[in-house]
């Protein structure tokens, strides 16, 4: 069996999610190759070649792949599948955008958002926003799978696979990139952060949200997240949203401030290693999943926490 993993990368480096998807691919058994599709992405291809357990890296480079849009990825990956039994994409917006296109072209039903691999053809995935977990068997000749990377441990970076060049699709394509506005931040990326500080509706305003959470996040070296309620109220930008309709995170430490703990939010953070909840409502559902709950008004609790962290040398 041969499995192709589609790398998540920014043309210069490979994201940690790629290492995690490699782990999922290895659990299926067989050979694992990684595809780096980008523009001027030699550095990313070289980084992918270091991932433990990778047989070889395929590197496709061209202007059509600069933004990893769905149409060129489909044109690139579908012919490559003649050599593979399965293709695994990280369940990022890029992966989710392209994978079903590849699946449909191969006349395959995709297995989406996999959180467990039980063998070459058996996978575990959440449905209903994580309120039910199904085990599915996929006996199709070709398998197309998106992987919830946070559910897997990252493969190490001690390998030295060969890098092989493959042609980029030439186009033309009927969708064209115009522009992007990426949030700029010195903080770690939400889905990759080891620590996350999240705020909810209780923060009451955008100003308060940042005034309270930013210093705490900076002290902890944490990314900042938000509940959907806080995002919908305009306190935090949309890309902060943690939850089933936002981002799924699984950091070592998740601090929920003024978050009640709606099912949709819990679905996005309940796999965190240690969860701290600070909320003045002692009946808030967030306390049912928190390892450490502090029933207190954030207005007094966060300054105290900052002090105590300082005293503890953090």
């Amino acid at each position: 069996m041969a499995v192709l993993v589609i790398a998540e990368h920014d043309n210069t480096s490979v994201k940690d999610s790629t290492n995690k998807v490699v782990t999922a691919a290895k659990a299926m058994g067989g050979d694992v190759d990684v595809l780096v599709a980008g523009a001027n992405a030699s550095a990313a291809a070289a980084a992918a070649a270091k991932i433990d357990g990778v047989r070889k890296v395929l590197h496709a480079d061209g202007a059509t792949l600069a933004k990893q849009m769905a149409e060129p990825l489909e044109a690139l990956i579908v012919p490559l599948m003649a050599n593979y039994d399965a293709v695994l994409f990280p369940a990022t917006t890029t992966g989710k955008n392209a994978a079903p296109r590849v699946a449909a072209k191969l006349d395959v039903m995709q297995v989406s958002g996999v959180i467990g691999v039980e063998g070459a053809d058996t996978f575990v995935r959440p449905i209903y926003a994580g309120n039910a977990i199904i085990t599915v068997q996929d006996t199709q000749a070709k398998k197309v799978i998106t992987v919830q990377a946070t559910a897997f441990k990252a493969a190490g970076n001690g390998g030295s696979a060969a890098v092989e060049t493959t042609a980029a699709p030439s186009g033309p394509f009927k969708a064209a990139f115009v522009s992007e506005e990426m949030a700029k931040s010195d903080r770690p990326e939400l889905t990759a952060a080891k620590r996350v500080v999240s705020g909810g509706r209780a923060l009451g305003s955008s100003e308060e949200f940042h005034k309270v959470l930013d210093p705490l996040a900076d002290k902890l070296g944490a990314a900042v997240g938000a509940s959907r309620a806080a995002v919908d109220a305009g306190y935090a930008p949309n890309d902060y949203q943690v939850g089933q309709t936002g981002k799924v995170v699984a950091p070592e430490l998740y601090v929920a401030v003024g978050i009640s703990g709606a099912i949709q939010h819990l679905a996005g953070m309940k796999d965190s290693k240690v969860i701290v909840a600070i909320n003045k409502d002692e009946d808030a559902p967030i306390f049912q999943v928190a390892d450490y709950g502090l029933v207190a008004d954030y207005k007094t609790a966060i300054p105290e926490l900052m002090d105590e962290l300082g005293k503890a040398g953090v």
Partner: protein
């Protein structure tokens, strides 16, 4: 411009999901079913294109067709779409679970006959959470796609779509005909008014079967079991920030 909007009937998003004790699936018996929230956003956007709202010129859309694939009761979901403002409905009657690949094939057959200029779908259904139908449909039609849309600006023969991507927003141009899938922030669907609910009852719904459309809807994947998610144990309540920091040190996370 003719706009087609597929809509799915799902368990109402306010209801608690219960896994059947024998692990054979999720219990849906006697529970309220509603239009999938992302599909409702898709219908709202199409209707705004017709009425002239949300930045769209009036009559940008000349006809809005709602399509649902599901059991007889999916007619209610179509009536809901018609009450928001769709002009007519098409029901493809299919019992049981129909996977996104089969849904995309059925929709392709409908689209081959209806020839819309634009198809707007919800980005995912809140039951199976696949996030696949729009992309699969685009591939089968060889149309461009703009998924996870938070803004749509129609132009001559094209649409500029702002997409919600990891880390920010991306704007792309797609040639029409095209497939667009909706994210949460595209619009806020209206509440259908009573007169419009009454009017919707008189709008036509055409009923077809997968056989009429020549599509095999047999599932490709087999669900072996359905389980409750692992429950996280509630931990302890701490009395102060000092105690909290102590516990976090013990746990080795700070």
């Amino acid at each position: 411009m003719k706009v087609l909007v597929p809509v799915k009937r799902v368990l109402d998003y306010n209801l608690k999901v219960r896994v059947k004790p024998d692990g054979s699936g999720v219990d849906l018996s006697n529970l309220k079913m509603s239009i999938n929230p992302f599909c409702e956003i898709a219908i709202e956007e199409a209707v705004r294109m017709k009425e002239g709202g949300g930045g769209h010129a009036k009559d940008a859309a000349t006809e809005v067709i709602a399509v649902s694939i599901g059991p007889e009761q999916a007619q209610e979901t179509l009536r809901n779409a018609l009450a928001i403002g769709a002009d007519r409905g098409i029901l493809v009657k299919a019992e049981g679970e129909v996977e996104p690949l089969a849904v995309a094939k059925l929709l392709k057959a409908v689209i081959d006959a209806e020839k819309p200029d634009l198809v707007i779908l919800g980005k995912q259904a809140i039951d199976d959470d696949n996030n696949a139908t729009a992309q699969m449909l685009a591939a089968l039609l060889d149309w461009p796609q703009a998924t996870f849309a938070s803004k749509i600006v129609l132009g001559a023969g094209k649409a500029s779509v702002t997409r919600e991507v990891d880390g920010g927003l991306q704007t792309i141009d797609v040639e029409l005909p095209a497939i667009i899938s909706t994210d949460l922030r595209l619009n806020e669907p209206r509440y259908a008014s009573l007169p419009n609910i009454m009017k919707a009852k008189k709008k036509p719904i055409d009923v077809k079967t997968p056989a009429d459309l020549g599509v095999d809807v047999a599932p490709r994947l087999k669900t072996i079991k359905t389980a409750e998610p692992g429950k996280r144990q509630a931990g302890i309540k701490v009395k102060s920030a000092a105690e909290l920091v102590g516990k976090l040190k013990e746990a080795g996370v700070i």
